[in-house]
């Protein structure tokens, strides 16, 4: 068993936020562009457009609430977890012996 250094910084949290924002941007932009796609069947085109509008843009507030909820609670825990230390160690033992 050895002691492994653990870097305690806000980098994982920042990476997570950046990735979520970029990914959400990608999905929402794709959905927005796809609203203009036309199929040879008009009914199919209309069905797809309605579905995308309802699912993507209708879900936007829920998405923001969910991200803020997860991020908020994670920030509270993370702050306490890293506060006052920049590095810690963790044992490579698979569990605590009791």
């Amino acid at each position: 068993m050895s002691e492994i250094p653990v870097k305690l910084s806000y980098i994982p949290l920042v990476v997570w936020i950046v990735v979520i924002v970029l990914l959400a941007g990608f999905v929402f932009t794709t959905a927005f562009i796809q609203l203009n796609v036309k199929f040879s069947d008009e009914e199919l085109t209309e069905k797809k457009q309605n579905k995308i509008s309802e699912e993507v843009f209708g879900n936007l507030p829920a998405f923001i609430v969910l991200v803020v909820l997860i991020l908020g609670l994670a920030l509270i825990g993370f702050y306490k977890f890293v506060v006052g230390r920049s590095e810690a160690t963790v044992s490579s033992a698979p569990g605590e012996l009791v």
Binding site: L23, V27, Q34, T45, V56, L66, S92
Partner: protein
């Protein structure tokens, strides 16, 4: 009126936890961890495969790691690998498979992180017995909010276990048996009753033995069922080998461009939906939406289900189990899901307008004819049966956490009550139609989706620990594994 409002709220929450918001967050967390781990699942893929041959022992744990891996595979590989993937292709087009593949790749990093945390924060006795282990035990390590999040997770987990882990699976096994019976001219009602009774007896016998007996059963069943399905799929690909290159091109094109095809008739599935004429079309958004969703729901990365079993494996390093879990996601999404998906596209069955299990049956019928119900039906039954066994354990870990660790009730009777409760709904779920349980299933499905929220918060906070441990294991793999073999 009040009940109706509650049901509406439940369906609204279901739409969030299984809809676009959760998909973006789960996929994003997998991608973020892939970046933070330096694409470890790709760079160390050779180690991931070699790690599967590890002989076990040392460092505590109750069950051989391969057996634990098989146990978890029992839950991960489920009806979703057949019906779910077919639905993804039906709703998202062939391009959905590209996004599903990517989801599997990122899911490997996400699953490895949660599993490593469950190994790190378990408690073991000197004889190897695991005293505390599973998802709620690492969630409670999160400062300030961890305690309440762990309790919420445990509640969500054992409620969802009854619905999606038990009754849905019992119903699926009976559905598979009924499909087989119908195909070969046998009585469907008698078949369902017999299936329910046999299932009840087998599940009771297995789960009374706890994680050890579940793992034993999984070790015999999983390699067989996985090989059965993979061989059937590869056989089908060989029959349609001439379409293979076109299929791959179709998948890549469909991932980035809208697609339209003429609707064709189903050959054997005989669904009233499958009538020729008209067109089918998919947007790029739908390819992403359904490919990612079905991939995520199949490998369960980020939901926190699998760590409840991995924490009971023998191990010498927390990262080792993380590597086992990477192989689990690889087999589930990158192999088995692709077997179904490519089969549906390569045979042209995706143009029939069918969806779910009937679409998979149609694809296999085009190659195997009358043998298809046997090939897919048996696979579906096995997939559902093993899911039922493994979820019994996932539920038990969280049930014990809630009643014994939090409410301080004695552990032995609490476990016994769970095991008795677990077998009671099997026969009704096998015999009765889905409509009887619809609302409860939707409720448990919602609970299942909600499991991801406390789990993701814990993963984000504790990620530095998992990253350090996985990185350490990757570079020390040879030293850990071969030094130990030399000593033996």
């Amino acid at each position: 009126m009040v009940l109706e409002t509650l049901i509406n709220i439940m369906y609204y929450v279901n739409g969030i936890v299984w809809g676009l918001p959760a998909i973006i967050i789960l996929l994003g967390t997998g991608l973020a961890l892939t970046i933070l781990l330096g694409a470890m699942q790709i760079r160390y893929f050779g180690t991931v495969v070699r790690n599967m041959m590890w002989k076990g022992r040392r460092g505590g744990g109750e069950v051989h790691p391969f057996k634990i891996w098989a146990t978890v595979m029992g839950a991960t590989v489920g009806v979703g690998n057949v019906a779910g993937v077919s639905t993804a292709v039906a709703l998202g087009g062939p391009g959905a498979l590209f996004w599903m593949f990517l989801t599997g790749l990122f899911g490997m990093a996400l699953k490895a992180t949660e599993v490593t945390l469950s190994m790190k924060f378990r408690k073991v006795k000197a004889d190897g017995t695991v005293v505390e282990g599973g998802t709620p035990y690492y969630i409670k390590q999160v400062p300030i909010v961890g305690g309440i999040l762990a309790v919420l997770f445990a509640l969500f987990a054992f409620i969802s276990a009854f619905g999606i882990g038990n009754m849905v699976q019992a119903n699926n096994v009976a559905y598979g048996a009924a499909y087989l019976a119908e195909s070969y001219g046998l009585d469907v009602t008698i078949t369902k009753w017999l299936t329910g009774i046999i299932l009840f007896i087998f599940v009771a016998l297995v789960i009374l033995g706890g994680i050890r007996r579940i793992a034993e059963a999984a070790t015999y069943l999983i390699p067989f069922m996985v090989a059965w399905y993979i061989l059937a799929g590869i056989g089908l690909w060989i029959m349609f080998a001439g379409n293979f290159i076109d299929t791959i091109i179709l998948i890549i094109k469909g991932a980035f461009m809208p697609m339209e095809v003429a609707k064709t008739t189903a050959s054997m599935a005989g669904s009233p939906e499958a009538v020729a004429g008209g067109v089918l079309g998919w947007t790029t958004y739908e390819a992403i939406r359904y490919g990612v969703a079905r991939g995520l729901f199949s490998n369960e990365a980020g939901l926190g289900s699998a760590p409840n079993a991995y924490a009971y494996g023998e191990s010498d390093h927390p990262g080792r189990q993380g590597f086992y879990s990477m192989f689990e996601v690889f087999m589930d999404t990158l192999v088995i899901c692709m077997i179904t998906g490519i089969s549906v596209v390569i045979t042209g069955a995706y143009t029939t307008g069918l969806t779910g299990a009937p679409l998979a049956f149609e694809a296999f019928s085009r190659g195997y004819g009358a043998l298809a119900p046997l090939l897919v039906g048996v696979a579906l039954m096995l997939f559902a049966f093993t899911t039922l066994l493994t979820w019994a354990w996932y539920g038990e870990v969280n049930w014990v956490y809630f009643w014994s660790k939090i409410l301080k009730l004695p552990e032995k009777p609490v476990r016994l009550v769970w095991r008795v409760l677990w077998v009671i709904p099997i026969i009704p779920a096998a015999v009765l139609a889905k409509e009887y349980f619809e609302i409860f299933w939707a409720f448990s499905d919602t609970m299942n989706g909600l499991m991801a929220i406390p789990n993701l918060i814990a993963i984000i906070v504790l990620a530095p620990v998992a990253i350090a441990l996985l990185g350490n294991f990757a570079v020390r793999y040879k030293e850990l594994t071969y030094k130990e073999s030399a000593k033996e």
